[in-house]
């Protein structure tokens, strides 16, 4: 794998290119990169919707039930889920869903999969990695820390995570992991001291680590939306300052679009689409404007609730200029009807639009870095999300109706 950062300019943010991925050597991915999180769209639907060459984020908690099948399959999880030409990145927990609190057993991590809680050891986790053969995976870690958690919890999380990292490395040497590259999970909550300790520990294995996952700042789900931006920026800035500059940096979670820009300007290279997924699950469509060339803002705000009865006879698309399949073909009225009648197609149409919107947003971000316009974009997004209080509280395993 090769990660090349474009020569640094004075401006904020960095552009990079991810190439030379062992399994898919002809593919390249531009950073800041958006990973597609659990989207529930089949390969055919993704193709029809124009989502080619995407990078996907898979989580251990939502995929562990595939382990036995993957073991026999031998071709890896990318092909198993029908996306063999796509970059796959495995994390521990799906960032869309709030972490459930669980007792931390020694040497294992409580993880909630579909059928209930399991305590995952590094060995279990690495077995899954071995069988799923993703392109990248994060090391197992206890990231159960948040903005006001106790010092004791942070110290505990760090100790446990250090042990898990050592174990992951031990297991990786024992098994023949074909092409999967390891991303070091950095913990330490909001404490600079503990972040330093975590980074120091990972650095001992630096030749095996191709990038860093900055974890432990939120507890997934809507918690990532309501982060204290100043505190997060400070600790992320500090953490990046003590990490090697040229390696790829990842943060996962449903950050607000303006928070993404903060993290981009600090130097984060990879994000995921959980924000777009949460918005879809809340029956809303993203409508925020990120076009600096045409900065007129809609009165309806950055997100619209398609269950609102005012859309029942609105035969316009979610966003007039949007080129997604949903907007080119369907209306707000139809989506409103599908949501009212609990039809499966409703969430699908929302997901297609929201992923498209968010993907285009990342294109705009890269463009803005190039043109040194990131602060203009930030201002534009800030205005739109200012004083807006949307709910993003989605629970895991919400039973599907119908």
């Amino acid at each position: 794998m090769k990660f090349v950062i474009e020569p640094a300019k004075k401006c904020a943010g960095r552009l990079g290119l991810l190439t030379g991925i062992d399994r898919i050597p002809d593919k390249s991915y531009k950073t800041p990169l958006l990973l597609f999180t659990e989207q529930n769209l089949s390969r055919e639907v993704l193709e029809i919707s124009g989502f080619q060459n995407i990078a996907v984020l898979l989580s251990f908690d939502c995929s562990v039930q595939m382990t036995n099948a993957l073991k026999l399959y031998k071709k890896g999880i990318s092909e198993f889920i029908g996306l063999k030409e796509c970059l796959t990145f495995v994390t521990i927990k799906n960032p869309c869903y709030p972490c459930l609190t669980g007792h931390h057993e020694k040497g294992s991590l409580p993880v909630y999969k579909k059928s209930g809680k399991i305590n995952v050891t590094s060995e279990d986790y690495m077995t899954f990695i071995k069988e799923s053969m993703p392109d990248f995976f994060v090391t197992l870690a206890d990231g159960d820390t948040w903005h006001d958690c106790s010092k004791k919890r942070i110290i505990k999380s760090n100790e446990r995570s250090n042990e898990m990292l050592d174990e992951c490395i031990k297991h990786q040497q024992g098994i023949k992991v074909k092409w999967s590259k390891m991303i070091g999970t950095v913990e330490g909550g909001y404490s600079e001291h503990e972040r330093r300790k975590s980074v120091d520990h990972i650095k001992q294995h630096d030749e095996k680590i191709i990038g860093y996952f900055i974890d432990g700042l939120h507890r997934n789900g809507h918690d990532a939306v309501s982060l204290d931006s100043i505190k997060v920026n400070e600790i992320v800035k500090y953490t990046l300052s003590i990490l090697p500059h040229d390696k790829i940096k990842i943060m996962l979670g449903a950050f607000l679009p303006n928070q993404v820009l903060e993290l981009v300007s600090i130097g984060i290279d990879v994000f995921d689409s959980s924000f777009a997924i949460l918005v879809s699950k809340m029956n809303r469509a993203l409508t925020f404007n990120f076009n600096l060339q045409n900065p007129a803002l809609l009165d309806s705000g950055p997100e619209i609730d398609l269950t609102d009865s005012k859309y029942k006879d609105d035969f316009s698309p979610f966003v007039e200029s949007c080129q997604c399949l949903t907007c080119k073909q369907h209306t707000k009225a139809y989506t409103n009807h599908l949501l009212n009648t609990k039809e499966l197609l409703g969430p699908m149409l929302l997901t297609i639009h929201n992923l498209h919107h968010y993907k285009m947003y990342f294109e705009a971000i890269r463009e803005c870095i190039k043109n040194d316009e990131l602060s203009d974009l930030k201002e534009m997004i800030d205005v739109q999300y200012k004083n807006k209080t949307f709910s993003y509280e989605v629970q895991k395993n919400v039973a599907q109706t119908n």
Binding site: L41, E44, I48, M66, A69, G82, L344, M348
Partner: protein, 394 residues
């Protein structure tokens, strides 16, 4: 049939042994529907978890879909459909649509529906103090707003297993109602009403009904009141009698039938069109249709099954996914999407295979092969009898 007719039907080839026929139905001159055809049911203006684009893909090539007037009349309701100009535009489907009259849904879904000479009386499902009436005129008015290419008359529905004078009353009322429906149709130049042959399980009543209905100026016929718990013996005999009574130059639609063996037998008996919720409903419960029956992918045995649902299937699900994958995402929305695609494809492919077999005059051979695969041991007697009646010996 004049060149401007909203529905033309041409029999392209006929099986030399059975009553099976391959045809081409052209709706509003632009929407071809090859028959025999299976129409998937998109009750509320969508097939569960499937994009209209997927239905129009070359391999799937779904040419006609069914919508339910009762559901669509409730939600989104006639005002919205009128505003946008009908269901085709509302759901972005530019191919053919068929709607039912709403009567059957009412009688089966609403406990307190009552049929009078005027129409179907029912309590509003949203406000039990309000009494509503679906008359033949109302049904057509609603279907005119929905705008499907083929619309159904309101018929007097009795349980298939009902006996006695009620069956006869329903049959006569159905005949009286077709005239009210035809009279009420304000879009006769682009929407074709199909009358429905009723008469329960009594050949004499079926005969009377068909004779009366064929005197009307209509472009196709439906056979109703079957597939409701009657014996298979009664079922096939009534189907066969009905196709004998109906004119050869118009399409014949058997309502509510969709199991593979029923489809094959009824095509052999001369039916051209079918609909059924079963393939899409069973998908929602995690079941996939295969030639030997159906597979319940919830079962643990599929955890490590790395083959597609059907190796020979040409659907996008089978081309990409294994049974193990579908088992791993059971209950997730994507499961429903993947299985709906496969099951609808299964039905449409079965119809394509039958059309091809009829075209090359190999339909009896096709039937034998299929039935041998479906029932490797003993074949159900009704199937043997029904096929024997059209000169196919299993």
């Amino acid at each position: 049939m004049t060149g401007n007719s909203p529905l033309t039907f041409q029999v392209l080839s006929k099986c030399s042994k059975t009553k099976a026929r391959r045809g081409l139905m052209m709706l509003r001159q632009t929407k071809p529907v090859e028959t025999p055809v299976f129409m998937p049911v998109g009750t509320q203006g969508t097939l569960k978890g499937v994009l209209v684009n997927q239905l129009k893909m070359d391999n799937m090539n779904c040419q006609i879909m069914l919508g339910n007037t009762y559901h669509l009349g409730m939600r989104p309701g006639p005002e919205i459909l009128k505003k946008i100009g009908g269901l085709h535009k509302f759901m972005a489907w530019d191919r053919a649509l068929l709607t039912d009259s709403g009567g059957f849904q009412m009688v089966s879904l609403l406990q307190l529906a009552e049929i009078t000479e005027q129409g179907v009386k029912f309590q509003s499902p949203f406000d039990t103090s309000t009494e509503c009436m679906l008359t033949p005129e109302e049904s057509i008015k609603l279907q005119n707003v929905i705008g499907a290419d083929i619309i159904m008359q309101l018929d007097d529905v009795v349980k298939t297993t009902t006996t006695g004078p009620r069956v006869e009353e329903a049959m006569h009322r159905t005949i009286r109602w077709i005239d009210r429906c035809l009279e009420a149709n304000e879009r006769n130049d682009d929407q074709s009403i199909f009358p429905i042959v009723q008469g329960g399980l009594q050949p004499e009543l079926r005969k009377q009904c068909a004779e009366a209905l064929t005197k009307r100026d209509v472009r196709g016929f439906a056979v109703g009141g079957l597939s409701g718990g009657e014996s298979k013996d009664d079922f096939w005999k009534i189907v066969s009698l009905s196709t004998d009574l109906l004119p050869n130059d118009k399409p014949r639609y058997l309502m509510g039938v969709g199991f593979a063996s029923d489809l094959i037998v009824c095509v052999a008996l001369g039916i051209d069109m079918f609909d059924c919720v079963f393939p899409t409903r069973t998908a929602r419960f995690g079941c996939a249709l295969v030639r030997s029956g159906q597979l319940n992918l919830r079962k643990q045995t599929y955890e490590c099954d790395l083959t597609p649902i059907d190796e020979k299937c040409g659907c996008s699900t089978c081309k990409t996914y294994t049974k193990a994958y579908i088992h791993a995402v059971i209950n997730e929305p994507i499961m429903c999407s993947l299985l709906t695609i496969h099951n609808v494809y299964f039905q449409l492919q079965l119809m394509r295979d039958m059309r091809d077999a009829i075209e090359s005059d190999k339909f009896p051979e096709f039937v034998k092969t299929y039935m041998n695969e479906l029932y490797p041991e003993e074949k159900p007697k009704w199937i043997v009898d029904a096929l024997k009646s059209v000169n196919v010996d299993l």
